[in-house]
Amino acid sequence: MLYVLLVIVMRLMGKRQIGQLQPFELVITIIIAELSVVPMSNTGIPLTNGIIGILVLLAAEIFISLLVLNSERVRALICGTPTILINNGRLIAEAMQRLRVNLHDLLEQLRGKEYPNVSDIAYAILENNGTLSVIPKADVVPPSARDLGRAVIQPLFPVTLIVDGNVNLYNLKLAGIAMDALIAQAKLRQIPDLRDVFFAQMTTQGQIDWHLRGEGDG
């Protein structure tokens, strides 16, 4: 029962991963986990004690999220503000000391993001959730299609059409493909029965990518 409640509560709290949580979300997640363990491990404590606590914390989390969403001032107070650690290739020692960021840890994170040289970085920003965002200097960024002046086709939304032989009719409609057209496309690829298809997807280029059952097996 508590497990089902926890799954529902975590769904209501949103889709963010642990590493992406804001400080207040992390605190609430830890307390919720602790609250659910107590009635599970101690049979003397009624389940309602855990359930009420979890529901109150869920309400508190939604309340703070809504406040943060509506007010920049509250957001800055509760979540903090991002801090620039590298500005135009120069390390900001004062900010690093204030945030207790070790130089070696910073360099390790930069190397992990494939920026071995501090001087190549225009800005490195420590975000509220603890992740480091890096904006490289323009001369070290690989040229984009826009830089090269090449015409590109914007990608379409990729849609899964068939999974394990089952056609997803909702996605088929979303992709704007009729069932007859799908069958015709399959026949063109020498696939007589859609149930033989393990996976089919409409790609970002608007083509259907077919994967037959057992095709990739050794």
């Binding site: 009624p46 309602t48 004690n49 869920l58 309400a59 309340f63």
Partner: protein, 129 residues
């Protein structure tokens, strides 16, 4: 989640918890008062050494307790309920063995335990901190 649905969810959660809290506290108070008044009748009979009346009174109390016990277990500490249960079993045996002094002591103890349960669940500063 839409903004309004978030506020609505908060409202529903708080309404359910507040209403549930008020209703459960009322139930605890009412049932505890009933149990105490039944125990007081048993105590009076014990003081008068009217063992037949005290046995009959205890039987009624025991019936009532069986019903209340299951409901109280939903929102009170089971250890406290177990202690109260043991106290009532001791009281029953003391009445059966016509032990007036210890039966009076046990009745007082059981009454105190019953009073303590709704007091422990009440929303008070002492319980919060």
């Amino acid at each position: 989640m839409h903004k309004w649905s978030g506020w609505l969810l908060i409202l529903v959660i708080m309404a359910v918890i507040t209403t549930g809290g008020i209703l459960s506290q009322r139930y605890l108070d009412r049932s505890a008062d009933e149990l105490i008044s039944q125990l007081e009748r048993v105590q009076q009979a014990v003081e008068q050494k009217d063992w037949m009346t005290s046995e009959a009174g205890f039987a009624l109390l025991d019936q009532h307790w069986s019903r209340v016990h299951n409901n109280w277990a939903l929102f009170t500490d089971h250890l406290e309920l177990d202690n109260l249960e043991l106290s009532l079993i001791r009281l029953q045996k003391l009445i059966e063995t016509r032990d007036e002094v210890n039966a009076r002591v046990e009745t007082g103890e059981a009454m105190d335990m019953i009073r303590h349960i709704p007091e422990r669940e009440r929303l008070t500063w002492r319980n919060i901190f």
